[in-house]
Protein backbone atom coordinates (compact mmCIF):
# COMPACT_ATOMS: atom_id res chain seq x y z
CA UNK A 1 0.00 0.00 0.00
CA UNK A 2 1.32 3.39 -0.85
CA UNK A 3 -0.97 6.02 0.53
CA UNK A 4 -0.14 9.19 2.36
CA UNK A 5 -2.35 10.80 4.90
CA UNK A 6 -2.66 14.54 5.14
CA UNK A 7 -2.05 15.65 8.70
CA UNK A 8 -5.38 17.20 9.73
CA UNK A 9 -4.46 18.51 13.16
CA UNK A 10 -5.82 22.07 13.52
CA UNK A 11 -2.44 23.73 13.79
CA UNK A 12 -1.06 22.14 10.69
CA UNK A 13 -4.24 22.84 8.75
CA UNK A 14 -4.00 26.52 9.65
CA UNK A 15 -0.32 26.82 8.85
CA UNK A 16 0.02 24.37 5.97
CA UNK A 17 -3.49 23.55 4.84
CA UNK A 18 -3.42 25.29 1.50
CA UNK A 19 0.07 25.64 0.08
CA UNK A 20 2.11 23.00 1.87
CA UNK A 21 0.46 19.70 2.75
CA UNK A 22 2.25 17.71 5.45
CA UNK A 23 2.04 14.03 4.57
CA UNK A 24 2.79 10.90 6.51
CA UNK A 25 3.67 8.00 4.24
CA UNK A 26 1.85 4.74 4.77
CA UNK A 27 3.28 1.98 2.62
CA UNK A 28 6.51 0.96 0.96
CA UNK A 29 5.84 1.61 -2.72
CA UNK A 30 8.20 4.61 -2.86
CA UNK A 31 11.06 2.98 -0.97
CA UNK A 32 13.95 3.49 -0.75
CA UNK A 33 13.35 7.15 -1.70
CA UNK A 34 10.58 7.58 0.89
CA UNK A 35 10.38 5.24 3.86
CA UNK A 36 7.15 3.88 5.29
CA UNK A 37 6.07 6.13 8.16
CA UNK A 38 8.25 9.08 7.16
CA UNK A 39 6.99 12.61 6.61
CA UNK A 40 7.23 14.98 3.70
CA UNK A 41 5.67 18.20 2.46
CA UNK A 42 3.74 18.63 -0.77
CA UNK A 43 3.82 21.96 -2.54
CA UNK A 44 0.34 22.41 -4.00
CA UNK A 45 1.58 25.22 -6.26
CA UNK A 46 4.37 23.15 -7.80
CA UNK A 47 2.57 22.61 -11.09
CA UNK A 48 0.68 25.87 -11.24
CA UNK A 49 3.30 27.45 -13.47
CA UNK A 50 4.96 24.45 -15.09
CA UNK A 51 3.99 21.02 -16.32
CA UNK A 52 5.12 17.93 -14.42
CA UNK A 53 8.33 16.47 -15.81
CA UNK A 54 9.63 12.94 -15.95
CA UNK A 55 11.19 12.04 -12.60
CA UNK A 56 9.00 14.36 -10.54
CA UNK A 57 7.48 12.81 -7.42
CA UNK A 58 3.85 13.87 -7.27
CA UNK A 59 0.91 13.57 -4.92
CA UNK A 60 -2.32 12.33 -6.49
CA UNK A 61 -5.59 13.01 -4.74
CA UNK A 62 -8.49 10.64 -4.32
CA UNK A 63 -11.82 12.31 -3.52
CA UNK A 64 -9.92 15.14 -1.83
CA UNK A 65 -6.56 16.00 -0.32
CA UNK A 66 -6.93 13.99 2.91
CA UNK A 67 -5.50 10.85 1.32
CA UNK A 68 -3.15 10.92 -1.64
CA UNK A 69 -0.94 8.55 -3.59
CA UNK A 70 2.74 9.43 -3.82
CA UNK A 71 4.20 8.33 -7.16
CA UNK A 72 6.92 9.17 -9.66
CA UNK A 73 6.11 10.50 -13.13
CA UNK A 74 7.73 8.28 -15.76
CA UNK A 75 5.52 8.84 -18.79
CA UNK A 76 4.24 12.06 -20.34
CA UNK A 77 1.27 12.72 -22.64
CA UNK A 78 1.56 10.99 -26.00
CA UNK A 79 4.31 8.61 -24.89
CA UNK A 80 4.08 4.84 -25.07
CA UNK A 81 4.98 3.19 -21.77
CA UNK A 82 5.57 -0.52 -21.11
CA UNK A 83 7.36 -2.88 -18.73
CA UNK A 84 9.36 -5.70 -20.30
CA UNK A 85 11.09 -8.14 -17.95
CA UNK A 86 11.27 -5.46 -15.28
CA UNK A 87 12.65 -2.73 -17.54
CA UNK A 88 10.58 0.39 -18.05
CA UNK A 89 10.37 1.33 -21.72
CA UNK A 90 9.23 4.75 -22.91
CA UNK A 91 8.58 4.88 -26.64
CA UNK A 92 10.51 1.63 -26.92
CA UNK A 93 13.65 2.91 -25.19
CA UNK A 94 14.67 1.80 -21.67
CA UNK A 95 14.45 4.54 -19.08
CA UNK A 96 17.42 5.05 -16.77
CA UNK A 97 16.03 4.91 -13.24
CA UNK A 98 18.72 5.45 -10.58
CA UNK A 99 16.02 5.60 -7.87
CA UNK A 100 15.06 1.94 -8.43
CA UNK A 101 17.31 -0.34 -6.41
CA UNK A 102 15.43 -3.65 -6.39
CA UNK A 103 15.27 -5.63 -9.64
CA UNK A 104 11.85 -6.81 -10.77
CA UNK A 105 10.29 -8.99 -13.43
CA UNK A 106 7.27 -6.86 -14.31
CA UNK A 107 5.67 -7.18 -17.71
CA UNK A 108 2.96 -4.85 -18.87
CA UNK A 109 1.77 -4.28 -22.41
CA UNK A 110 2.39 -0.84 -23.90
CA UNK A 111 -0.09 1.90 -23.14
CA UNK A 112 -0.26 5.34 -24.74
CA UNK A 113 -0.51 8.12 -22.20
CA UNK A 114 -3.55 10.31 -22.95
CA UNK A 115 -3.32 14.06 -23.59
CA UNK A 116 -4.51 14.92 -20.06
CA UNK A 117 -2.76 12.07 -18.32
CA UNK A 118 0.56 11.09 -16.77
CA UNK A 119 2.04 7.63 -16.31
CA UNK A 120 3.13 7.19 -12.70
CA UNK A 121 4.70 4.35 -10.75
CA UNK A 122 6.41 3.84 -7.39
CA UNK A 123 10.17 3.40 -6.95
CA UNK A 124 9.78 0.08 -5.15
CA UNK A 125 9.19 -2.62 -7.75
CA UNK A 126 9.78 -5.59 -5.43
CA UNK A 127 6.04 -6.30 -5.10
CA UNK A 128 4.13 -8.16 -7.79
CA UNK A 129 2.83 -5.82 -10.49
CA UNK A 130 -0.78 -6.54 -9.51
CA UNK A 131 -0.13 -5.31 -5.97
CA UNK A 132 1.34 -2.00 -7.03
CA UNK A 133 -0.91 0.93 -7.86
CA UNK A 134 0.47 2.45 -11.06
CA UNK A 135 -0.48 3.45 -14.59
CA UNK A 136 -2.06 6.34 -16.44
CA UNK A 137 -3.71 8.86 -14.17
CA UNK A 138 -5.67 12.01 -14.96
CA UNK A 139 -3.60 15.16 -14.59
CA UNK A 140 -6.57 16.68 -12.73
CA UNK A 141 -5.70 14.41 -9.80
CA UNK A 142 -2.38 16.17 -9.21
CA UNK A 143 -2.38 17.62 -5.72
CA UNK A 144 1.20 18.89 -5.98
CA UNK A 145 4.84 17.90 -5.91
CA UNK A 146 6.99 16.90 -2.97
CA UNK A 147 9.42 19.45 -1.56
CA UNK A 148 12.18 16.91 -0.88
Amino acid sequence: MDMCQHDRRPGTVLVFGYVLLPLRLDGASMEPTYRDGSWTLVNTLAFRFREPARGDVVALRLAGPSYVYLKRVVGLPGERVAFVDGRLLVDGRPLVEPYVTEPCTWNRPPVVVGPDELFVVGDNRSNPLTHHAHGCVARARLAGGVLW
Binding site: M3, L62, P65, Y67, V137
Partner: protein, 170 residues
Protein backbone atom coordinates in the same frame (compact mmCIF):
# COMPACT_ATOMS: atom_id res chain seq x y z
CA UNK B 1 -8.62 66.78 4.12
CA UNK B 2 -10.14 63.35 4.43
CA UNK B 3 -13.39 63.26 6.31
CA UNK B 4 -13.78 60.30 8.65
CA UNK B 5 -16.34 57.81 7.42
CA UNK B 6 -19.55 58.00 9.47
CA UNK B 7 -20.24 54.85 11.46
CA UNK B 8 -22.99 52.55 10.24
CA UNK B 9 -26.34 53.27 11.92
CA UNK B 10 -27.09 50.92 14.78
CA UNK B 11 -30.26 49.39 13.20
CA UNK B 12 -28.22 48.31 10.17
CA UNK B 13 -25.65 46.63 12.40
CA UNK B 14 -28.37 44.89 14.44
CA UNK B 15 -30.11 43.68 11.27
CA UNK B 16 -26.85 42.39 9.81
CA UNK B 17 -26.03 40.54 13.03
CA UNK B 18 -29.53 39.04 13.16
CA UNK B 19 -29.27 37.89 9.55
CA UNK B 20 -25.89 36.31 10.20
CA UNK B 21 -27.24 34.55 13.30
CA UNK B 22 -30.27 33.27 11.37
CA UNK B 23 -28.03 32.00 8.59
CA UNK B 24 -25.81 30.22 11.11
CA UNK B 25 -28.85 28.73 12.86
CA UNK B 26 -30.24 27.51 9.53
CA UNK B 27 -26.90 25.99 8.67
CA UNK B 28 -26.68 24.17 12.00
CA UNK B 29 -30.29 23.10 12.40
CA UNK B 30 -31.53 23.03 8.83
CA UNK B 31 -32.84 19.79 7.39
CA UNK B 32 -31.52 20.15 3.89
CA UNK B 33 -31.15 17.08 1.71
CA UNK B 34 -27.38 17.44 1.75
CA UNK B 35 -27.37 17.56 5.51
CA UNK B 36 -29.55 14.46 5.73
CA UNK B 37 -27.31 12.56 3.33
CA UNK B 38 -24.26 13.49 5.37
CA UNK B 39 -26.06 12.27 8.51
CA UNK B 40 -26.89 9.01 6.75
CA UNK B 41 -23.20 8.63 5.85
CA UNK B 42 -22.22 9.20 9.47
CA UNK B 43 -24.69 6.51 10.53
CA UNK B 44 -23.40 4.17 7.83
CA UNK B 45 -19.78 4.62 8.93
CA UNK B 46 -20.80 4.03 12.54
CA UNK B 47 -22.75 0.92 11.58
CA UNK B 48 -19.87 -0.55 9.59
CA UNK B 49 -17.38 0.12 12.37
CA UNK B 50 -16.66 -2.90 14.55
CA UNK B 51 -15.73 -2.17 18.13
CA UNK B 52 -13.62 -4.32 20.42
CA UNK B 53 -15.44 -7.43 21.66
CA UNK B 54 -18.72 -6.31 20.09
CA UNK B 55 -21.30 -9.05 20.82
CA UNK B 56 -22.95 -10.78 17.90
CA UNK B 57 -26.35 -9.56 19.08
CA UNK B 58 -25.21 -5.96 18.67
CA UNK B 59 -23.99 -6.82 15.20
CA UNK B 60 -27.38 -8.27 14.29
CA UNK B 61 -28.99 -5.04 15.49
CA UNK B 62 -26.60 -3.03 13.36
CA UNK B 63 -27.43 -5.20 10.36
CA UNK B 64 -31.05 -4.14 10.79
CA UNK B 65 -29.92 -0.52 10.58
CA UNK B 66 -28.84 -1.26 7.03
CA UNK B 67 -32.56 -1.59 6.15
CA UNK B 68 -32.80 2.16 6.73
CA UNK B 69 -29.67 2.94 4.72
CA UNK B 70 -29.73 0.69 1.64
CA UNK B 71 -32.37 0.17 -1.04
CA UNK B 72 -33.55 -3.43 -1.41
CA UNK B 73 -31.87 -3.61 -4.82
CA UNK B 74 -28.64 -1.88 -3.77
CA UNK B 75 -25.57 -2.54 -5.92
CA UNK B 76 -22.15 -2.41 -4.23
CA UNK B 77 -18.98 -2.56 -6.29
CA UNK B 78 -16.12 -1.97 -3.82
CA UNK B 79 -13.39 -3.24 -6.16
CA UNK B 80 -10.84 -6.04 -5.81
CA UNK B 81 -10.35 -8.06 -3.67
CA UNK B 82 -13.82 -7.45 -2.24
CA UNK B 83 -16.75 -9.06 -4.04
CA UNK B 84 -19.55 -7.22 -5.81
CA UNK B 85 -22.84 -7.38 -3.94
CA UNK B 86 -26.33 -7.02 -5.37
CA UNK B 87 -29.30 -6.76 -3.02
CA UNK B 88 -29.68 -5.58 0.56
CA UNK B 89 -30.08 -9.07 1.98
CA UNK B 90 -26.77 -10.18 0.49
CA UNK B 91 -25.10 -7.05 1.84
CA UNK B 92 -26.45 -7.76 5.31
CA UNK B 93 -25.28 -11.37 5.12
CA UNK B 94 -21.78 -10.26 4.19
CA UNK B 95 -21.82 -7.69 6.97
CA UNK B 96 -22.76 -10.33 9.55
CA UNK B 97 -19.87 -12.51 8.42
CA UNK B 98 -17.50 -9.69 9.30
CA UNK B 99 -18.34 -10.19 12.99
CA UNK B 100 -16.00 -13.20 13.05
CA UNK B 101 -12.93 -11.09 12.30
CA UNK B 102 -10.91 -10.11 15.34
CA UNK B 103 -9.80 -6.65 16.33
CA UNK B 104 -11.38 -3.27 15.82
CA UNK B 105 -12.39 -2.17 12.35
CA UNK B 106 -12.99 1.55 11.88
CA UNK B 107 -14.69 2.87 8.74
CA UNK B 108 -14.44 6.57 7.87
CA UNK B 109 -15.60 8.70 4.98
CA UNK B 110 -13.27 11.60 4.16
CA UNK B 111 -13.52 14.50 1.69
CA UNK B 112 -17.24 13.97 1.20
CA UNK B 113 -19.03 16.01 -1.45
CA UNK B 114 -22.78 15.79 -2.05
CA UNK B 115 -24.74 16.88 -5.12
CA UNK B 116 -28.52 16.68 -5.00
CA UNK B 117 -30.35 16.62 -8.33
CA UNK B 118 -32.81 19.48 -8.96
CA UNK B 119 -35.73 17.03 -8.68
CA UNK B 120 -34.72 16.35 -5.07
CA UNK B 121 -35.30 12.63 -5.57
CA UNK B 122 -31.76 11.53 -6.35
CA UNK B 123 -28.29 12.55 -5.27
CA UNK B 124 -24.66 11.62 -5.73
CA UNK B 125 -21.88 11.78 -3.20
CA UNK B 126 -18.17 11.24 -3.68
CA UNK B 127 -15.76 10.39 -0.89
CA UNK B 128 -12.59 8.61 0.15
CA UNK B 129 -13.42 5.52 2.19
CA UNK B 130 -10.83 4.41 4.71
CA UNK B 131 -10.81 1.22 6.74
CA UNK B 132 -8.42 0.87 9.67
CA UNK B 133 -7.88 -2.52 11.27
CA UNK B 134 -6.58 -2.36 14.82
CA UNK B 135 -5.11 -5.51 16.31
CA UNK B 136 -2.76 -6.21 19.18
CA UNK B 137 0.10 -5.57 16.76
CA UNK B 138 -1.04 -2.05 15.90
CA UNK B 139 -3.13 -0.14 13.36
CA UNK B 140 -3.21 -1.10 9.72
CA UNK B 141 -4.73 1.34 7.23
CA UNK B 142 -6.18 -0.67 4.37
CA UNK B 143 -5.92 0.96 0.96
CA UNK B 144 -8.25 3.99 0.90
CA UNK B 145 -10.64 4.05 -2.03
CA UNK B 146 -12.50 6.78 -3.83
CA UNK B 147 -16.15 5.82 -4.01
CA UNK B 148 -19.17 7.34 -5.74
CA UNK B 149 -22.48 6.72 -4.02
CA UNK B 150 -25.85 7.17 -5.72
CA UNK B 151 -28.78 7.97 -3.44
CA UNK B 152 -32.51 7.56 -3.95
CA UNK B 153 -35.17 9.24 -1.83
CA UNK B 154 -37.82 6.76 -0.71
CA UNK B 155 -40.58 7.67 1.75
CA UNK B 156 -38.71 10.88 2.52
CA UNK B 157 -35.56 8.97 3.49
CA UNK B 158 -32.29 8.91 1.58
CA UNK B 159 -31.08 5.38 0.81
CA UNK B 160 -27.94 4.15 -0.93
CA UNK B 161 -28.85 2.77 -4.32
CA UNK B 162 -25.35 2.14 -5.64
CA UNK B 163 -21.80 2.47 -4.39
CA UNK B 164 -18.91 1.99 -6.76
CA UNK B 165 -15.15 2.36 -6.53
CA UNK B 166 -13.62 4.94 -8.84
CA UNK B 167 -10.52 3.71 -10.67
CA UNK B 168 -7.65 6.15 -10.21
CA UNK B 169 -5.21 4.37 -12.55
CA UNK B 170 -5.75 2.70 -15.89
Amino acid sequence: VVKPRPPLPRPVLVLAAAAAAALLLWWWCGDSDERRIRSALDLLADTLTKRADEPKLAFVGKARTLDDLLTHDVVLRPGEPLPDVEGRDKAKGLFLQAWRYGGVVTVRFADVTVRVEPTGERATSRMTVTVTHRTTEGDELLEPREVVVTWRKLDDAWLVERAERVAVFR
